[in-house]
Every structure is written in structure tokens, then in C-alpha cells.
Amino acid sequence: MSKPWAIRLASESDLDAIMQIEHECFANDAWSSDSMFDELTGAEKYYIVAYQDDALIGYAGLNKLPTVHQSEIQTIAVLPSSRGNGLGRDLMDQLLQEAVRCDCREVFLEVRADNPVAQQLYRSLGFEQIDVRKRYYQPDDVDAIVMRATLTSAKAEPLVLGIESSCDETGVGIVRGTTLLANVISSSMDQHARFGGVVPEVAARAHLEALLPTLNEALATAKVSLDEIDAVAVANGPGLAGALMVGVGAAKSLAVSLGKPIYAVNHLVGHVGVDILERGELETPTIALLVSGGHTSLLLVRNLLDDVELLGETIDDAAGEAFDKVARVLGLKYPGGPEIDNAAADGDPNAIRFPRGLMLPKDMEKNRYNFSFSGLKTAVARHVEVLNTKGELVPIADVAASFREAVVDVLVSKAVNACVDHNVPRLLLGGGVIANRRLREVAQQRCDENGIELRIPALSLCTDNGAMIAAIGAQLIAAGRQPSGLTFGADSTMPVTTVQTL
């Protein structure tokens, strides 16, 4: 059970109750009632009290020195019977938040050298020992350890838990600022295999079942507890509505239970922002090509949080969907991407010239950055059908290699065009289809030819994951953006221009 208490600002009328606790906690060196009164009423002082069932159980105070952007923890006390439940941490959190609010960059405190429990708490909050004051506490004759926390780093490096549930992957990721601590993904792909594609209801049911195991594995991997999380982030679109709602309901409730802010972020922007976890920052402007079972999108990213433009997207099937459908035509398994990649290994990519969608000169005017794969899929099906009718053997390796070549050719050509047209010498790839070896190979080759820097994040960060959502949340916090409210819902068709839903 956590937080059986509540915290509010202290007032003069709390003086007697505070003094009782003061005497119980600091038997030999308690402050006088007059000193405490001055503390509670001082202009630059910030005192809070914790209470449970109408009785005071602890208090803490901060002395603010905003002109020098510093503050001091004056005191903190918790009744012995209420210790060990995280109340001390809760009180400290509130004081530090107040210090951040008044733009303090450093917070100082003194702690008894013979109190290792308190020292451990302060260290976990980012305090470091900077000095020792010999025999400071009298009459006990105990040294004081002076500690300092730098707040800018705490704000720039928030611990964020991200939840992703837009399609068939339940992802929970944990980041500290730009550092990846955990990225746990539970996929329901196997359950969709017999249907030959993602079934939304099956995916949504699987999210609910995977939620707690995925969360707990992520916390264990990151070696953090939920109490330490500074904020929760969740992908609330685009994606499958029923699937997104599981993540949205879960994330909001988690945030409320922890009393922490929530950030609702765009799933596609997450795919772009994930590069931050590998390089510490996202170099902009960049073109981003996101290719998965649900998306084929070409983006121009001038600024991750403020300026993401959709240049084009598929007008029918997503590229990953085309792989799945062609795999079925060829009698291969689901998911089609890796199956076709394997089948194509010994095939001739130029054996059959399959059509390249929206690549004709007339298309290049109206649909320069848009994609179409449904005609290609039909062309493959027709090719196979003709061979079957003639009673000829279908050269699966050649068909797979030629189909794959057509998809890759279109994807890379349009992405490189976007880079050249917009004079942006960077291309970032994202989405599950990036696992395709030939796509990465051709992208590298054409980028090299055109002097474009190619970024391909690790595959575990390319597929749908919670870490990318957490990374965007951390960026929003670092940029000082306000958290989302609790009323946002899932938006299955969210435009890429909506980076955060407030």
C-alpha cells in the first residue's frame, strides 16, 4: 500500500503538531517553538506537512535563495511509525519541485554522519557529498555531511516510462533523459500468423494480457521502481483504436496512481525520435522514412517537437502489408517480410520486371512522395496465376527477389528524392520493415552515391517499442512543455503534425 498520506502547505496553525514531531524526532537538538514559527512564516520559506487520517505525520521545509538560484533543505522529519514507506522521499520530491519552480539550480542540505538511511535517500535524489562540518551536531558531537544536488540535470534527465500499444506489440520502455535503460517488447505476432495479418481484436486482447509482465520486466531491466519514475508517456495514435485504448487507459491510470505527469505522444514521431537514444540528439533537418506493416510515411523533420511535415505516405497498402500479402500468394508464412527476404536470397532481382507504383513521370508530379503497393501485389499474384494455369513451376526465389527489389527501389528512390529536393543530407529509417536486408543495402548504396548520411537505429528500436515513446516524453519535459491532461483519448488517424496531445 502506498501513499496513505496527503501533503499540503504548512500554516501557523500546524505549529503545535509540528513541534510534537520535532521533539520526538530530534530529542537532543530540537528547534524552539519560536524558531519554528519564524520558519513557517518566513517570506522565502516553503514548508509542507504530511497528514494521515487528520493527524500530522511529517513535515519538511525549504529556504529559497532565488537571487542566487540556490536553496537549502532546512529540515525534514517523519514520525518513526510512518517511516520506511517512502514518505521522506515524497516530502523531498515536493521540496525539490518547489526549488525547480523558483528557478533554483542548486539545492544544499546537511545530514548527520550517523544517519546512513537519510544519506542514501538524498543520494538517490541526486545529492552528492561536497563537504563535512566537524562536530556540527551538539550535544551529540556528530559530524554534518554537506550535500548538494544540481537541479538542471535532474530536469534535463527525467526518468520516463513509455507505453506503446498501437499495433501488435506491447512495449514498455524506460529512459533517463536520452539514455536507454529498458526496452521490453511483447509481440502477439504468433497469434496473428494463422490469419495472415494483424487482427485488431486479437492484438487488443494480447495487449491486456502482456501489460503487467512487460511493465515488470522493464522495471527489473532498468533496475528502477515505479516510485522513482518522473513521468509517464504513452502513444495515443496513430494506430489501431482498440489497441491504443489499452495503452492509453493503462498509462493514465499509472500516472494518477503515482501522482506523476503524463505525456501523450505521436507514435510516428516516436519512430523518428528514437535516434536520440543512440546518438544523444537528433540531427535536423532530416528526412525520415518509416516503413512497417501499418505505415509507409516519408517525413521532413525540421524540429522533432515542433516541425514534422508529412511529405507523403501510402495511398493503399503499407509496404509491410504488401510483403505479407505476397508471401501468402507464394505460399510463405506470416509475417511475410523475413519469409520473402529468405526466399529471395538465391533469386535474381531482375528476373521479372514488376511495376514500380507511382514512379511514372505523371505520378511524380502529383504523387512524388506518395507510395502505392497494391498494384504491385496484384501483378505478383497475376504472374503466379499465369504460371500455375500453364502448369509451370513458380520460381519462388526469383519472384520473391524481383518483388522485393520493386518495393525497395520505390522506397529508396522516393526517400532519396526527398533528401535531394529539400537539400537535406540526412535520411533516417524506422519501422519493422527496416529489418529487410536488401532495403538497408540499397538505401546505403544510394545514400552514398548522393552524399546523404544514412541513420538506421538498432532493430529493437526500429520496430514498435515503448522506449521511443519514453524518449519523446523526456524531450518534451526537457523543453519545458506542459504535461497532457487526463482527458485525451486514442486517435487512430492522428496526423504527424500532432507531436503531443494536451
Binding site: 502506498s2 496513505p4 487520517d53 490469419f195 491486456l208 489499452v246 492509453v248 487507459g249 493503462a250 499474384a381
Partner: protein
């Protein structure tokens, strides 16, 4: 003493905070859509009504209910219990409706049972039959929960020669909490929170070789 947070999204969104049988706060929203938008707002509302009251158990209605909304409440309950380090349990939503009807109603028996019916959409209903309350105040379910066409349900009742009293009350989180408290007394409160869909997903297994040319 900690309180119990009860959540049900089998119909609308309903959330309550209850301690020792006393309702501290409740938040009820009839809209049978918008669970993802509403659930956390409702939780925050009931918590705000009682500062200084800790939640040490979370109980959620497992349905039966049509898919989407039901999942939101269960997901919210799961996560809240983790964040608050509270115990998590699940009850059958129809049982909670039965509790509302059976309290103070001694006319119900196994020969004159209570029928609880809720909308399952697609021209079907969920139902369960109850013969009364046990000594701990837990409804005694004698049939269901199951999903059925209304005509088939009627036929079945005629077959077994039963004219039940049909429940008219709607689900509330307060009823979910009262049911959980009764089940606690009866030592039968379950930690199972799996969703009761009672239907398989609509999906057809992949068809291979669909013809594309004339």
C-alpha cells in the same frame, strides 16, 4: 486504514472509493463510449475527494462486456494497483448487478431466481441467473455468465420452467466494491482479472490463392 478503489467499464465508466462499506466518493459516467478518455479522470476525481486516504486494494469488473471499453477499465485497474502497490482483484460485473437487486429482496429463490441481462450488441445479450445471497451476502449464481440470443434465452427459460425476476438496476462501481467486500468476508475474492469476452474475435483464417485475373 486503506480504502478500496473499484472500477467498472463493462457499460459506462464507473469508479468508486469505498472504505469498510462506507462510500467515500463515486464518479459515474453513463456514456458507453469514451472509456479511455474518462477512466483516469474518474479515478482522479474520487481520489481528490478524499485526500490522505490511501488505496490498498483495487477491484475491477471483468464483464462480460463487448470488447473495447471493458479492456480499458481492466488495464487501468492493473496499472493503478502497481503504482499504488495495492492488491488487485476481479469480480464478475453481472454479480454486482445481482447484489444491488438482491439486497433486501427475500422473494428470490432457486425456483424464483433473479435474471441479470446486459447488452452484448450484435443482437445478443449476456445473462446470469441467481438464487439469492449466501450468508456473507455474496450472490449465488446458478447459471451463466453466458452470451445468448434473446429468443434462445426465452426458450431456455421455458424449457427449464422458470419465470425469473429480471434485474432493472445498472452496474455501479459501488456495487463492485460491495461485492468484493462480501467476497472478502466469504474468502472467495479472486485475483483473476482476465476480461470475460465470452466470444471469440471475428477473424477468418487466411485464404490462400485468391484469384486476381478473369
Amino acid at each position: 486504514m486503506g480504502a478500496m478503489l473499484a472500477i467498472d467499464t463493462s457499460a459506462g465508466t464507473t469508479v468508486a472509493l469505498v472504505r469498510n462499506g462506507e462510500v467515500i466518493a463515486e464518479s459515474n459516467h453513463d456514456n458507453t463510449m469514451g472509456h479511455a478518455e474518462t477512466v483516469a479522470v474518474a479515478i482522479a476525481e474520487v481520489l481528490a475527494a478524499a485526500p490522505g486516504v490511501g488505496v490498498n486494494s483495487v477491484v475491477v469488473g471483468r464483464g462480460p462486456a463487448p470488447f473495447t471499453g471493458l479492456r480499458v477499465g481492466i488495464a487501468a485497474a492493473m496499472m493503478f494497483s502497481q503504482g499504488a502497490k495495492a492488491k488487485l482483484s476481479g469480480v464478475i460485473s453481472l454479480d454486482a448487478i445481482a447484489l444491488l437487486e438482491l439486497e433486501g429482496n427475500s422473494a428470490i429463490s432457486s425456483t424464483n431466481p433473479l435474471l441479470v441481462v446486459t447488452d452484448a450488441r450484435r443482437k445478443e445479450v449476456y445473462y446470469a441467473l441467481y438464487s439469492g445471497l449466501n450468508s456473507h451476502g455474496v450472490p449465488i449464481r446458478i447459471d451463466g455468465p453466458a452470451v445468448i440470443k434473446p429468443a434462445a434465452l426465452e426458450e431456455m427459460l421455458i424449457d427449464i420452467n422458470i419465470t425469473p425476476v429480471t434485474a432493472t438496476k445498472s452496474i455501479t462501481a459501488v456495487a463492485i466494491a460491495k461485492l468484493a467486500e462480501a467476497q472478502l468476508r466469504d474468502a472467495c475474492l479472486s485475483t483473476d482479472v482476465t476480461a470475460l469476452y465470452l466470444r471469440q474475435p471475428d477473424a477468418v483464417e487466411g485464404q490462400f490463392g485468391k484469384k486476381v485475373s478473369g
